[in-house]
Amino acid sequence: MRLHELLHRHLDGVHTVVDMSHEGVELQRYLNLSEEVAYDYQPVENLEKLNLGSGVVVVTLLGPNQPVHADVTELARVLQRFEPGARALLALAWPTRELPYHRLLSPFVDAGCQVLDVAPLDPTSLQGIPSALVIERVRSLQPLRGYLVSDGSQIPTEQQFDELRTMLRIVDEFALSDFAARHVRNRLLDLEHAESARAELARQVAEMAQRAEKLSKQVTSREQQLYDCERQLEALESSISFQAGNALVRAACHPGRGILEFPRTMYGLWRRRYQSQFERPST
C-alpha cells in the first residue's frame, strides 16, 4: 500500500490535512491531495493555536531518529488536543519488527483514539517508512476494517454494527489468540535460538576451514622446502668431492680394508669425471 492510498481511505468528511512533520520531512508530495482537501503545514510549536476537530487529519512522521522524526511524547501532546472526529495519519519509520507499539497504546487510549487502519507501505514508493496507521478520536467504538482490505464498502454500516457483539469478539479473540500465540512465539524463539546457534557453528566451521587452508598452504611450502633440501643433499652426496672425502674417511677408520679400497675408489672417481668431460649433451 502507498501512503496516499491509506490516507484516501479515510478522507470522508475531511476538509484539511495538517502536516506536523518536522522540518526536512517532505510528506506533502506523497499525499496526492485533491483540490477539495486543503493542505496546511504547521510546526508543532503552533499546536496550541490549532483547531483539531472533525474534518481534520494530522499527518506526521514518527520514528527513532530525533529531530527528524517526531517522538511519542510529542505525539501524545498532539493527540491531547484532538476533539472527537479528528484523525491522524502516522507514518512509522521503525522497521515493523522493531515497532514499539507498546509505547503508542497508552497515548492512543489516553486521548480516546481508536486505530482505524494499520498497513505496511510499499517500499518501492516510500523508502525508510515501512508502515503507517490511521487513528481517530472517537466517542464510541467504530466499525473495524479487515487487514489490507482496499474496498471502502467493506466497512460495516451503523445498522450492521453491533458494538457489544463486536467488543465481545475483540476481547475474546484477543484473549484466545494471545493464548494460542504463546506456543507459536515460544516455537519462534526456539527456532531463532537454533538459527543463531547454527550461524555461530557455521562461523566456527568457516574459521576452521580458513585455518585448515592456511595450514595446508604451510605444509605445501614445507614439503617444497624438504624436496629442495633432499635434491641438494642428493647432489651433494653424488659429488666427487663428497665421495673422495668419504673414501678417505673410510680408509682412516678402517685402515685394513679401507687402504685397499681407497686407490680403487679414487680411480673410479677419476674415470667417471674423465668420461663426463667427453660426454655429449643428450639431444
Binding site: 500500500m1 492510498e5 515493523t96 498497513a119 505496511p120 515501512p130 508502515s131 466499525p143 473495524l144 476494517r145 479487515g146 487487514y147 489490507l148 482490505v149 482496499s150 474496498d151 464498502s153 467493506q154 460495516p156 450492521q160 454494527f161 453491533d162 457483539r165 463486536t166 465481545l168 469478539r169 475483540i170 479473540e173 489468540s177 494460542a180 500465540a181 506456543h183 507459536v184
Partner: protein, 215 residues
C-alpha cells in the same frame, strides 16, 4: 430412473478417481469442458477472486489465507504468487501428492473442511466449487461453520454456490444451495453478507458469496 446421491465414501472415492484420471484443470474444474476452456474458466474465476480478496499485498506482513478444498492447488499457487501466505487443505491424497510435487509455496495439508483447525485465524478463507459437492446437509453445515470460525474479525469468507434461493441436486454428486441456506447461517456465525457475484461464464449458475466477519 432418478439416481440417489453418493454416500460420503462414494463421493470421496469419486474425487480420488477423478483427480487420478483427469489433468490438473479438468480434475477440479468443469468436467464438461475441455482443457483449454477450463484454462479460461480458471483464469476468469481467479480474476474475480483476486478482486474480492483485494489489490493490496505485503511480502513482509502478508495476508494469511486458507484455500478450503484446494484440489490440485491451482488457486492456492496463484494466490501465493500474489504475496499471500496460503494454507491449502483437501481430502484427496492423490491431489495433495500432485500439489506437493508442484510445490511453489502454499502449505498443503490433508483435512476435511469440517475438521481443519489452526492456531491462528485467517484474513481470508475461500472455498471454490467445493461446498456444492458436499452432499450431506449436516456435513455441509458443519463445514461452513468450521470455515467461518477460522476467519478473524474483519476477515472475509468466500464461498461459491448458486445465487438462487433454494436447493437443487444436479446428478448424483452435486447439491446446489442458495442464499436461503447461506445467509441465515452466516449471520448466526457473526458475518455480514456483502455480495453474490456471478461467474458470468457461459451458462454456469454459480457465483461467489462474500461475507465479512463483523462480530
Amino acid at each position: 430412473m432418478e439416481l440417489g446421491l453418493l454416500s460420503a465414501d462414494e463421493a470421496a472415492a469419486y474425487w480420488e478417481n477423478r483427480h487420478q484420471a483427469e489433468d490438473d484443470l479438468r480434475s477440479g474444474g468443469h468436467i464438461g469442458f475441455d482443457h483449454v476452456t477450463n484454462e479460461i474458466f480458471y483464469a476468469s474465476r481467479l480474476g474475480k477472486l483476486l478482486e474480492i480478496i483485494g489489490d493490496q499485498t505485503s511480502l513482509t506482513e502478508p495476508l494469511f489465507v486458507l484455500d478450503a478444498g484446494c484440489g490440485k492447488g491451482w488457486f492456492s499457487r496463484a494466490v501465493h504468487r500474489c504475496g499471500h501466505r496460503v494454507d491449502a487443505i483437501d481430502t484427496s491424497e492423490s491431489a495433495l501428492t500432485y500439489c506437493q510435487e508442484m510445490g511453489d509455496g502454499p502449505r498443503y495439508l490433508r483435512s476435511a473442511l469440517s475438521t481443519w483447525s489452526s492456531p491462528w485465524l485467517y484474513d481470508v478463507v475461500f472455498s471454490i466449487d467445493v461446498l456444492f459437492h458436499i452432499l450431506d446437509d449436516t456435513e455441509w453445515e458443519s463445514s461452513v461453520c468450521n470455515l467461518a470460525s477460522l476467519v478473524r474479525l474483519g476477515g472475509r469468507l468466500i464461498f461459491t454456490d448458486w445465487g438462487e434461493v433454494g436447493q437443487r441436486a444436479y446428478g448424483n454428486y452435486q447439491v446446489l444451495r442458495g442464499c436461503a441456506h447461506y445467509l441465515p447461517l452466516m449471520k448466526r456465525c457473526g458475518f455480514r453478507f456483502d455480495d453474490w457475484q456471478s461467474y458470468n461464464f457461459r451458462m454456469n449458475p454459480i457465483g461467489f458469496y462474500i461475507f465479512t466477519r463483523t462480530n
